[in-house]
């Protein structure tokens, strides 16, 4: 016993002694192990590239928003506020998914104000990054130019989306303001300023970007994408001849229609010739991932491939819309009236058809699929050119040819120029755009351009459809923090 005690004592003494000599006293300096101090960043070309990568993230801030598929995405809202989509989940007291078809939104609805909250700062980040890259000394002028061009293109793209949702909004395009966290909010600009700013950025970006990026650079902004942005801008502003000329520029950039409609949206045909701009996706990454299938497949859907997909069963195309399609339209191959269920049977959902659109990713292990999400494609451009030509000079052969290129590919009868007046051509093209571009998030812009956005909701029976809902409300916070300098959109 005594021995043990002695040992314990010596242990204790040794213990204390050891600790006394081991103690160290720092000077309370923070040590950073996995981040950059400001003095260590924006030095190398890799730094600039990483900064630009982060700017792209503004296009896909999370799996729900940006160009993704969920409730805050441009894709969903661009379709959900139109005749293209109804949501099965619109039941119950969570009105979130139920508000779209009836335009039941106000300034408290974060699903509509979030674009402002995401994209206004994203634009400032673009400007900030442009400033930082401009100051860099150790990278080549060529790289600098390209990086800045990409950032400007993204800035234009985000500004255009904002403009579409809210009308002109105050954005920071001045480097000094962007670098000042205490800069106060500015009043909203005019539409003219906003449009000019977008146009300028797209044009400057287009000048320094290649027609096309492929391989490991696919997904970056290109000259073609910039021109497509401009085409969209001119269409919105009804600057028809500018639209036609920029559209024709795109035509000369080597893009073409795929032979088969379904194959545009498959994993085998990623980076195909029809895609003008896309979000590259992976099945093991967020936010760049494709969740469309999970949103549309019904729970009891049984894939012909045998693969079990995650199926949330949310989005359906209402039957009244579906029924407008020609029954032989090949585009219905990915818009299922009857969908396969167990036992080799098929089923028809009372709410609507299943807009499958995207092909399966055989390697996907959950809702995330790797098929690239398409933002803009060549078919859209062709139909816009046709529309613009009609607006300038009525239905011409040239215009009808663009439409027939699309219809041919879909296996539906061609139209003849004699079938249309200027007005009926306009209506036809709006309809054709539905058949061709359904559920790509484009419909909202189309309906607004054609003046049919609100009427569609009235026809749907919505008690909330009023003219002012063409624009979304700004978040209350934007008004509050500017102390009234920034004004709310009328009606809200």
């Amino acid at each position: 016993m005594k021995n043990i005690k002695l040992k314990l004592v010596s242990f204790a003494v040794a213990f204390v002694g050891l600790f006394l000599f081991n103690s160290c006293h720092g000077d309370l300096e923070s040590e950073i192990f996995s981040e950059f101090a400001p003095s260590t960043f924006y030095k190398t070309e890799a730094d600039a590239e990483a900064a630009v990568t982060r700017i792209y993230n503004g296009l896909m801030p999370n799996w729900q928003g940006g160009h993704a598929s969920a409730s805050t995405s441009h894709r969903f809202q661009g379709s959900g506020t139109t005749e293209e989509l109804l949501v099965s989940w619109a039941g119950g007291s969570t009105s979130g998914w139920g508000l779209w078809a009836s335009l039941n939104y106000n300034a408290d609805e974060w699903n509509v104000t979030i674009h402002y909250e995401n994209m206004v700062p994203a634009i400032t980040r673009c400007t900030f990054t442009i400033g930082k890259i401009q100051e860099m000394e150790d990278i080549s002028e060529e790289s600098k130019k390209r990086f800045i061009a990409e950032v400007k293109a993204i800035r234009a793209h985000l500004a255009q989306l904002l403009y579409g949702y809210y009308g002109p909004v105050s954005i920071v395009v001045d480097v000094e303001t962007a670098s000042d966290p205490n800069a106060s909010p500015q009043a909203r600009p005019t539409s003219e300023w906003m449009v000019a700013q977008i146009e300028k950025d797209y044009m400057e970006a287009a000048a320094d970007l290649p027609y096309r990026f492929t391989g490991t650079d696919f997904g970056r902004f290109t000259k073609a994408a910039c021109k497509m942005g401009l085409l969209k801008l001119y269409m919105k502003e009804k600057k028809w001849s500018k639209a036609v000329s920029v559209g024709k520029e795109i035509e000369g950039m080597g893009y073409s229609l795929m032979n088969n409609y379904k194959s545009i949206f498959t994993i085998e045909n990623e980076q195909n010739d029809e895609i003008l701009f896309a979000i590259s996706c992976r099945n093991d990454f967020e936010p760049n991932t494709n969740g469309w299938l999970a949103h549309v497949l019904p729970g009891d859907y049984v894939s012909p491939s045998g693969k079990q997909n995650v199926a949330w069963g949310g989005f359906k195309m209402p039957w009244t819309t579906y029924n407008k399609f020609d029954q032989n339209d090949e585009r219905l191959e990915v818009l299922l009236g009857d969908y396969p269920i167990a036992g080799g049977l098929t089923k028809r959902d009372p709410l609507g058809a299943i807009p499958v659109k995207y092909g399966e990713d055989p390697d996907a292990t959950d809702w995330k699929q790797g098929v690239d999400l398409i933002v803009w494609r060549y078919a859209d451009a062709l139909l816009l050119i046709a529309e613009a030509i009609n607006e300038i000079e009525g239905p011409t052969t040239e215009a009808i040819n663009y439409v027939n290129m699309i219809r041919n590919r879909a296996g539906v009868p061609e139209f003849s120029i004699t079938d249309f007046s200027k007005d009926s051509f306009r209506d036809m093209i709006l309809e054709e755009r539905l058949f061709e571009l359904y559920c790509e998030g484009i419909r909202r812009d189309d309906l607004i351009r054609h003046g049919k956005y609100i009427q569609r909701a009235v026809d749907f029976g919505s008690p909330f459809a009023q003219e002012y809902k063409i624009l979304y409300p700004l978040p209350r916070r934007a008004i509050d923090e500017s102390e009234g300098l920034i004004t709310q959109n009328p009606g809200y």
Binding site: F19, S30, R54, G92, T216, S280, R282, G299, R477
Partner: protein
């Protein structure tokens, strides 16, 4: 009254050291203090008395023969008596309140007998004396008459018999130095080293046994000559020593608001960590058990929580802050579901005492980390005496207290048919919903036929499949003991818990060594070592919904029409929603966490001179937590990913070096001065690593061969951080003549988080107490035995904001180009060079009292705490590159009061009943918000509202048929909840105060507060002979709760065929129009009807009822093996009284792990 007379005497001998509280005996005696000042006072007294009794020799006639020489001029009587003790073997006893020892005298005698000296000394005073052996007993002649029976001890006369026996504490440890006095006399003795005593007494005499911190026992002599006594702790005693930061204090000398938990009364047989047992134990401490999961802790708050950056309560175990150990890693897969207490590594059975430093003046010595209060945990130490072995075993049988009631198969079919019919009516606008002629639309076809319904099960649900009966068993062994130089306490604990839901459980081993060794008169070393290994089985639960639904929600959702398992052993899914796994299939998952923690704490004391001791302490705290899990192919998400394995690990090392110098000096007058100064340096290093893979060839490898997975991009991650603290602190306490006590403390803390000139914060405090009962005018009070008022002011801090206040670029916001991931880098945070400490300033007034001879005692406190420079992220304008910047954003206030009462309702030989009750109230409100915050504050929020106010729309019941649809809710159908239009916005976005016919956020109002208005605890202990019964309850009042589960059940009724709560069978429908519950049909105003499911969250929980039986002394007599044995049965959590209709008023959130009811049998045996 007379029966208590002897213990009011104080013993007075050589004056080097004064112990003012041996029960109420005063003893002055010269002894060599064997250990440093930090020694538990109880222990010191034990030693003192021990030495005293050893030194005492039988010296009959001593007083007659001894002669003393004195020459003292103008000194106190105290000094004279002291000198007499120094020069002779006399001991002086006196009754505290009756003798004026401060009177100045001069005395000069040559070899005079003691009698003469005393006669001179007390001539013309009220002081009388008696001499017995070498004892001088002083008292007030006018008040107390000595019993004529006074006879010298050990003088046995004919009528007397020799009584002997053994005195021990409840756990069987012998108590040396227990004072035994014959009632009505000053005849007495002490127990020896082995707790033995012998005394002469006559039949009918009464003996009192008294010992510091123990309840005094009085017995009457009958025929037995052997009387063994078991003494019990007297927790309510004001002489209790409590641990305060960097020192100890007597409870009655406390100047701050310090709550103590009576650990003895806390049943830990059904818990794994002490925090879960703290609810209701201390006024002002709110511990809410938010999950019933094995190993889950409680969310602990002291006096509210008016800070956003709050790091939570600081736990200090044996002087070492233990916050910041390695936390439970995430799962790596879609499930979270591991709620663990950070105190799991401490065996609750090892805990000796718990003190809660509630106010800022008490906590200020812990400065910057004490902003949310401090809980000091002291573990058991060895006591002088023979080795004591204690063995505890308990077995708790557990089942869920309550679980969700969802539809049975039959009820599901009936209700789903009914709901779908109603939806068909609504969609087609038929009947109450519109004028459509039903014959014009496709007819409604019920999903289930009458035959289906008749053949369906009428009871049971998938929730039954994931429940089981659980248990928690504990084995606890400790060995403790020591002598004058060495003390040791060694313990081991094995705990095994099987959770009440499948795949949940906990296995734990903890070991502890507390060891101290005196090396010389100057040096002492000590080591405390706590090791623990906890293995937990993690059920896949959590608050995820839809495809992320965990086990509980999946079972909740599972349609009763779908079997739980197929004949081939596969698990069928809900055909309408194949994204949620089959609930039973969760049992296929393997998911476990192993947490290890080794906390070593060593110190060296160097006593420079009598009052001054230096201590150096070093502690090293290593913790790791490693989680490994595998989703097999038999489980839905394992099937989709072809097997998914993850290993995740967190590691934290915390080292602490502390130097303290303590000073403790007592003065003759009863005054004392004590103080401590110190320096502490703490470094916390953490790192983590995780890896995962998918697509495994086989399920057999689990996570043991990650390499064999073939996922395209296996997951991998790592991190590292470091935090540094440097602190200087000090405290001075001046006790002036035991009436006025003044304490001041200060701490200077430095943190690496802040910018250069903001690194250090200063946290002073000052507090004062006035012991009114020590004043002359109160001395004879028949009511107040003790009365003290306290006033204190203190400051504490908080720096818990992110990693630092500097600008940083961080990797993140990655993006995919081609098919490759590119790393993004972004400006993550901006520097705020002005960022500084959050500072809490608290004013506290308190009153401690003990009345009616100690029958009723308690404390009342009022506090007012302001937290300024609140740390949070200040929003920058929306356009900014970074959304916010760490900033000091305002000021909050917590105000409240606390009351605790202990009463001894009945106390006699066979039966006793004591009650503890506490109640507290607090309110956390805003005092100031920064202009940036104020600017963007939603208009319906008041600038000075409560911190956790709940805002919402005012609902107005369900719209009935025939009632007008409100103009502000066009499109509302019968059966849907109405909300009121109360307000409107003007063009600038400001409230107009006038209803505007539009339902929007202007119409929200403050509905209430989620903080409880009142929290209370109520404990009763009954003792009858060898039986004891302990009933403990606690609760909360005035509290608003949101019933998420119910809201969800009505909001998503039968979506995807999901099952829902059975109670929605009473919903409104066209066939049940009198119902006030919503129909659950699609409501265009879903966002506006939130408060419909808010409920009163008040409750009273009976937490435990324990019935114990101690083996009677008689059975234990005559054998040397067993010293005590106790057996008990305990019901934990038998019931809750509440109007809240959800699962449990404490368990938060959505689909929670249910709390359990436990039936415990246990025993405690001491050898």
């Amino acid at each position: 009254m007379f029966a208590h007379f002897p213990i009011h005497y104080r013993k007075f001998k050589n004056s080097q050291k004064i112990f003012k509280s041996y029960k109420n005996m005063k003893l002055i005696k010269h002894i060599q203090i064997p250990y440093g000042f930090r020694l538990n006072l109880k222990m010191r007294l034990t030693i003192t008395l021990l030495l005293f009794s050893l030194l005492r020799v039988n010296a009959s006639g001593y007083s007659q023969n001894t002669k003393i020489t004195l020459d003292l001029q103008n000194v106190s009587v105290f000094k004279v008596l002291d000198e007499i003790q120094n020069l002779s073997e006399f001991s002086v006893y006196y009754r505290d309140s009756q003798i004026d020892l401060n009177r100045k005298v001069s005395i000069s005698v040559q070899k005079e007998k003691i009698k003469k000296i005393l006669n001179f000394l007390f001539a013309n005073t009220n002081v009388g004396y008696q001499l017995i052996d070498k004892n001088i007993i002083l008292n007030d002649k006018t008040k107390n008459k000595f019993s004529p029976k006074v006879v010298p001890i050990n003088t046995l006369n004919n009528q007397q018999i020799k009584i002997s026996g053994f005195v021990k504490d409840k756990s069987g440890t012998p108590l040396p130095g227990v004072n035994i006095v014959k009632v009505g006399t000053i005849i007495g003795t002490d127990t020896d080293f082995d707790g033995k005593y012998s005394i002469a007494a006559s039949k009918g005499d009464q003996l009192t046994f008294s010992y510091l911190g123990m309840k005094t026992v009085t017995i009457t002599i009958e025929s037995a000559t052997t009387i063994n006594i078991t003494m019990e702790n007297d927790a309510a005693t004001l002489d209790e020593i409590v641990v305060v930061g960097y020192g100890t204090s007597k409870k009655k000398d406390l100047t701050g608001a310090v709550g103590s938990v009576d650990v003895e009364d806390v049943s830990v047989a059904a818990t794994t960590s002490i925090d879960a047992a703290l609810s209701g134990r201390v006024s002002g401490l709110v511990a809410v058990a938010t999950s019933g999961q094995p190993g889950a802790g409680a969310s602990v708050q002291i006096r509210g929580n008016a800070s956003f950056a709050s790091a939570g309560v600081l736990y200090v175990v044996d002087g070492v802050p233990i916050n910041g150990g390695a936390g439970e890693p995430g799962s790596g897969n879609i499930y979270s579901g591991a709620s663990r207490s950070s105190l799991n590594f401490i065996n609750p059975n090892d805990i000796e005492s718990i003190q809660v430093l509630k106010d800022a003046s008490s906590a200020a010595i812990y400065g910057a980390r004490a902003g949310s209060g401090v809980i000091l945990i002291t573990t058991k130490k060895g006591k002088i005496g023979k080795a004591k072995v204690s063995f505890d075993q308990s077995y708790a049988y557990q089942n869920p207290l309550d679980f969700y009631k969802v539809h049975s198969e039959q009820s599901y079919m009936i209700n789903r048919n009914g709901w779908e019919k109603e939806r068909w009516l609504l969609d087609n606008k038929i009947g109450v919903y519109g004028a459509t002629d039903p014959s014009t639309v496709s007819p409604f076809v019920p999903r289930y036929s009458e035959n289906d319904i008749q053949g369906a099960n009428k009871s049971g649900s998938a929730l039954d499949a994931i429940q089981r009966n659980g248990y928690l068993e504990q084995y606890n062994v400790s060995v403790s003991g020591g002598d004058e130089n060495t003390r040791y306490f060694i313990s081991g604990n094995l705990t095994d818990q099987k959770g009440v839901l499948i795949n949940s459980g906990l296995d734990r081993f903890t070991g502890r060594i507390n060891f101290s060794q005196k090396l010389s008169n100057k040096f002492k070393v000590g080591v405390n070592l706590n090791t623990s290994i906890t293995k937990s089985e993690n059920p896949a639960i959590g608050e995820g919904r839809y495809e992320n639904a965990g086990m509980i929600l999946s079972a909740f959702y599972h349609p009763p029409t779908v079997p739980l398992i197929n004949e081939d052993g596969t698990y069928p899914l809900n055909p309408e929603y194949k994204n949620a796994p089959n609930p039973l299939s969760f049992r296929e998952i393997t998911d476990g966490t192993v947490s290890r923690r080794l906390l070593t704490n060593a110190y060296l004391d160097y006593k420079i001179m009598e009052p001054l001791t230096l201590r150096v302490r070093y502690s090293y705290d290593q913790s790791t937590s490693k989680r490994k899990n595998y989703l097999p192919k038999t489980f839905l998400y394992g099937m989709l990913s072809e097997g998914e394995a993850n290993i995740l690990q967190n590691e934290t090392d915390i080292s602490l070096v502390e130097y303290t110098a303590s000073y403790n000096k007592s003065f003759d007058s009863g005054s004392s001065l004590s103080g401590v100064v110190g320096y502490s340096y703490q470094e916390r290093n953490g790192e983590g690593f995780n890896a995962g893979n998918k697509k495994f060839l086989t399920d057999n490898f689990l996570y043991n061969n990650l390499w064999s997975g073939t996922a395209e991009r296996p997951s991998v991650g790592s991190y590292r951080f470091k935090e540094v603290w440097a602190s200087y602190f000090g405290r001075v306490t001046l006790n002036y003549i035991d009436k006025y006590i003044l304490t001041g403390s200060i701490r200077r803390d430095g943190s690496s988080k802040f910018a250069k000139n903001k690194k250090f914060g200063l946290f002073p405090s000052v507090s004062a107490a006035w012991k009114i009962s020590s004043e002359d005018f109160m001395k004879d009070s028949q009511v107040f035995e003790f009365l003290k008022v306290r006033a204190n002011y203190g400051t504490t801090g908080n720096s818990n904001i992110g990693s630092s206040a500097f600008s940083l670029y961080a990797p993140g916001g990655n993006y995919v180009f081609g098919n490759n991931q590119s790393v993004g880098v972004y400006l993550k945070q901006l520097e705020n060079a002005d960022l500084t400490w959050e500072t809490a300033r608290e004013l506290n007034f308190g009153l401690d009292f003990s009345i009616l001879n100690g029958k009723v005692s308690g404390s009342i406190d009022y506090f007012n705490k302001t937290i300024s420079d609140l740390l949070d992220y200040k929003p920058l304008p929306l356009q900014s590159v970074v959304s916010g910047v760490a900033a000091n954003i305002g000021k909050t206030q917590s105000k409240g009061w606390e009351l605790s009462l202990s009463t001894k309702n009945i106390e006699n030989d066979n039966f006793s009943w004591k009650t503890d009750f506490n109640i507290a109230h607090f309110k956390d409100t805003w005092k100031e918000r920064s202009p940036e915050v104020l600017k963007v504050l939603p208009k319906y929020i008041g600038e000075y509202d409560e911190l956790r106010a709940i805002y919402g729309y005012v609902t107005d019941g369900v719209l009935k048929v025939g009632e007008e649809v409100p103009v502000h809710m066009p499109g509302l159908s019968p059966g849907m909840i109405r909300a009121k239009d109360l307000n409107g916005f003007d063009e600038e976005g400001n409230l107009t105060g006038i209803p505007d016919g539009i339902l929007n956020s202007a119409d929200q109002i403050k509905l209430g507060n989620s903080d409880p208005g009142y929290t209370f605890g109520f404990s009763n202990v009954f003792k009858y002979k060898n039986l004891d019964l302990n009933i403990f309850a606690y609760g909360m009042l005035d509290r608003l709760l949101y019933n998420n589960d119910k809201s969800n059940a009505f909001g998503q009724m039968f979506n995807f065929g999901w099952n829902t709560l059975e109670e929605n069978k009473d919903r409104w429908s066209s066939e049940n129009q009198s119902s006030n519950l919503p129909s659950g049909l699609p409501n265009p105003y879903g966002n506006f009807v939130g408060n419909f499911f808010r409920e009163n969250g008040a409750f009273l929980r009976v937490k435990s009822i324990t019935l114990g039986y101690n083996l009677p002394e008689k059975l234990l007599d005559g054998q040397k093996f067993l010293s005590s044995a106790r057996f008990y049965v305990d019901v934990q959590n038998p019931f809750v009284i509440t109007s809240y209709s959800g699962l449990d008023p404490e368990v938060s959130g959505f689909v929670a792990y249910p709390p359990q009811k436990s039936f415990v049998v246990g025993m405690n045996i001491n050898f």
